[in-house]
Symmetry: C2
Subunit: 202 residues, 2 copies
Amino acid sequence: MPKIVDHEARRAEIAEALWRVVRRDGIGGASVRTVAAEAGWSPGAVRYYFPDQEGLLNFAMDLVSRRVRERIGAIEAIEATGTLTEIALRYLEEVIPLDSEREAEFETWLSFIAQALTETGAGGLRDHLGPVQDGLLELCQSLITALSDGNTLRAGLDLQLEAERLHALVDGLALHVAVQPGRTTPARVHQILIAHLETLQP
Amino acid sequence: MPKIVDHEARRAEIAEALWRVVRRDGIGGASVRTVAAEAGWSPGAVRYYFPDQEGLLNFAMDLVSRRVRERIGAIEAIEATGTLTEIALRYLEEVIPLDSEREAEFETWLSFIAQALTETGAGGLRDHLGPVQDGLLELCQSLITALSDGNTLRAGLDLQLEAERLHALVDGLALHVAVQPGRTTPARVHQILIAHLETLQP
């Protein structure tokens, strides 16, 4: 009888090994060879799933998107208590790198952008940037729409523009938390987001 | 008579070669060897000034800071016309990657951050991140102070918090321009910044 391989389980195993390497050595340390060593596999076995570093990087980015979506989904599962603004805050703080898990995700995302931007032309990593970024924009759009529907938004605001402005603010804060965690502390992020949401209120 | 070497001129020559390599191949393509080849020097001659890639990267970041400061200085040299808000806009748009020069600078900055964040402990690239980032925060602080002094700011605003919020917005917009130039266009950046500054008005 042929050996039956659970490909999904094996990809999940690679994902875990990849994530451990990224958290320890940064995305720059993740190669087919290092991930294979971490998983206790041969490089050839990893290459069966991810032939080259680009495939591995794309997989890492998919992982980051999935983790962020899972975290956002977990908030939705909790009964929403508090004002709409408080709930919005809770979502936004979930996507800012305020702990080591989210730091690793954000670092991966930045490395991915930095690497993709050096590519010229279509195809490759660059095509994957937009869809990942769209996830956070969609969250911002949902929050702005929810605030508007709940009559907690000033009249006359351009909802799409406000979603994009909030998206830029959140990504900028994420960058500042990563670069200067001593100045842009979790408490400071909280204050800035509250101040921002208050300016949107009627 | 010993040969007299103008070290400043030679560093400037390396700077130009480094910048050409970064614009063509991204910061990842900049090494002592590639910069030497670009300048038409031997690797040993470059190493005399920059013993390793870290030294070269730090030099690239100093270059980026200097270029940004020079561009901001050039605005100050132009007679300031228009309302305070229009002048503030002009400064802010100068630090967002809206042309290929500024794109190259921003890409260098992102790669530098991505590389620095993989380092653990003090020293190295990480120590250089804060000072570079401080330059843009200081610009935001100056603009918010100028708006406040000109009575074009709502009463009761926390000026330091507003400077940090503006700083995050500008860096987030820069990131979005780099990642999705088709969506976050120069015209869109302009609209978002105007909307933001308008919320600060009395």
